[in-house]
């Protein structure tokens, strides 16, 4: 692990929550030059520290139907490669959103999105369970997303402070 400089850390913390932040404004807020911000971000993109910029979407508020599942996968690690090969076989499917190696009762945690329960079910039964090194899958459907990436969905509380206080 590289020791991350203070400025890198502060930039990362800022853009982790707001990737659209304006570099000029961020420079003012952090008390550094705008060019330093732009260069540091570009360096971190090249170094693979910043891997992408995403948007958090509440699909429930659109007419688009989506179902998200968490799938616990138990599998046999392969000699010399551990879980890497099987993880790769899984993450190559575009409908798979993320794959994590997990400690504890199972090995891989796979998240995926589909349009319907059926679509996910058929992925699990046809594509996942049939893999040779996969021993079992347990599929959990997400019913409601309360908080994701540090952002609370739904109810927001306004500022209830008194407007003027000494």
């Amino acid at each position: 692990m590289n020791e991350i400089s203070e400025i890198r850390l502060r930039i990362l913390k800022a853009i982790e929550h707001d990737s659209r932040i304006n570099p000029a404004e961020l420079a003012i807020r952090l008390g550094v030059d705008e060019t330093d911000i732009v260069n540091t971000i570009s360096d971190m993109e090249k170094e693979g520290i910043i891997c992408g910029y995403l948007t958090l979407i509440d699909w429930d508020k659109t007419s688009e139907q989506t179902v998200t599942a968490l799938i616990e996968v138990k599998c046999t690690p392969q000699r010399g490669q551990g879980f890497d090969t099987i993880a790769e076989r899984i993450y190559k499917y575009p409908e798979v959103g993320s794959v994590y190696l997990i400690s504890g009762g199972f090995d891989l945690m796979v998240t995926m999105e589909g349009k319907t329960l059926k679509e996910i079910a058929s992925f699990v039964t046809d594509k996942l369970s049939t893999q040779e090194s996969i021993l079992s899958c347990a599929t959990h459907f997400i019913l409601r997303r309360y908080k994701d990436h540090g952002t609370v969905f739904g109810k927001k509380y306004g500022d209830e402070r008194m407007q003027i206080t000494p």
């Binding site: 502060r10 807020r29 952090l30 500022d159 003027i164 206080t165 000494p166």
Partner: protein, 389 residues
């Protein structure tokens, strides 16, 4: 019927912010930059500890001085951050906010007619508490050109044979001024020579953006003549929990505890349990909040410079104190017009002392998004003023 109100209460001036509070609360879409408390919620782990204490039925009184565990954590915190060493058993008192500590500190120290040196602009309660305690406030009018730091000469001029207490309100509300070590060191000889007791209100100590805050109590010869006041409101965003503390020499704290015991009994128990958690595991929360305030502070200063609004750079608390002298209006007029025309509420500097005339207190205990909208309106307003409309 004779007038039932005591003279010293009748003569007490109502708070200067009351008028604005009344106008703002009538307005629907006003944006306020007038709040003197954090916009963050108390960190959840701290709130959770308070809730847990209620679930466990810890709804009793604590000892008058406060939970021993809390006092111990307070002294550890002061040692860790400010290199101060207090005995939790005899030199520490948990109070209902810093406000109570100011009140009972002054009541403990003052004989009738004793003078209390109060630098202004500063928090609204020092003068009334001094008067209620029988003391005589002696105001030192701080200067913008000194970044509102108390100068040795200013202090020296205020000292008379009756001087008893010096109130040291840094980091400062409303100016955001700080006193660095070098500034404090210039005062100590004078304080000792004139045998003053210092009541140092360090409630904003965690919000210092230059060097880490230095407490005057940590300077040589000062601990024995200093009442240190601090609390949880600003550092941990715990204003509503009403919890603060005073540390000082045993003889003073013992006497303060007597008043506290008869007036208050003890600080709220739920708050005390939550505060133990804050001190044990809250340092990183404080740092995160400090970083957020600091970003906003830099942003505001940048915007003021861009608008050509004159403001010294404040390094403490969460206030900026820009000058509006160029517009030829009083602080009150400016704030009232700004509120009426642009629906932005700020507090006139005069709410914190006459020498606040010509200044506004603007709080940055608001999100950047909020500040942007409010500053946009402020800019429109001053552009209109400059073009004479």
């Amino acid at each position: 019927m004779r007038d039932p109100i005591a003279e010293r209460v009748r003569d007490m001036k109502p708070s200067g912010i009351r008028k604005f509070f009344d106008i703002v609360s009538e307005m629907k879409d006003a944006i306020s930059l007038g709040v003197g408390e954090p916009d963050f919620d108390t960190p959840w782990h701290i709130r959770d500890e308070g809730i847990y204490s209620l679930e466990k039925g810890r709804t009793f009184y604590t000892s008058n001085s406060g939970l021993m565990e809390l006092r111990t954590e307070i002294t550890k915190f002061l040692r860790r951050h400010y290199n101060l060493s207090y005995d939790p058993a005899h030199e520490t008192l948990v109070t209902v906010g810093g406000s109570e500590a100011i009140d009972i500190g002054l009541r403990t120290l003052l004989e009738k007619g004793d003078e209390v040196i109060i630098p202004e602009p500063s928090y609204v309660s020092y003068v009334p508490c001094t008067i209620m305690a029988g003391g005589v406030p002696v105001i030192v009018e701080l200067k913008a050109e000194n970044e509102f730091r108390l100068q040795r000469e200013e202090l020296e001029r205020a000292i008379t044979p009756k001087s008893r207490v010096l109130i040291l309100p840094y980091p400062n509300n409303p100016t955001g001024a700080i006193m660095e070590r070098k500034d404090l060191e210039k005062l100590t000889e004078l304080i000792i020579r004139h045998d003053l007791i210092v009541l140092t209100d360090e409630i904003y100590s965690a919000l210092s953006y230059k060097e880490p805050h230095v407490s005057i109590a940590s300077l040589p010869g000062m601990k024995e003549r200093t009442i240190l006041i601090n609390g949880f409101s600003k550092a941990f965003a715990m204003t509503g929990w009403r919890l603060g503390y005073a540390c000082g020499p045993e003889n003073i704290i013992t006497q303060m505890t007597k008043i506290h015991q008869y007036c208050i009994m003890c600080a709220p128990t739920t708050s005390q349990y939550a505060a133990v958690e804050a001190l044990k595991h809250g340092d990183s929360d404080v740092e995160e909040m400090r970083n957020a305030y600091n970003e906003r502070r830099r942003f505001l200063m940048h915007e003021f410079r861009r608008m050509g609004l004159s403001c010294f750079e404040p390094y403490g608390a969460f206030y900026v104190f820009p000058s509006i002298r160029e517009f030829g209006m009083t602080s009150d007029e400016f704030a009232t017009e700004l509120l009426k025309r642009k629906k932005v509420a700020v507090v006139p500097g005069t709410a914190f002392g006459n020498c606040g005339e010509g200044f506004l207190r603007i709080s940055y205990a608001y999100s950047i998004e909020n500040l942007k909208v409010a500053l946009g309106r402020l800019e429109e307003f001053i552009t209109e003023l400059r073009s004479g409309s």
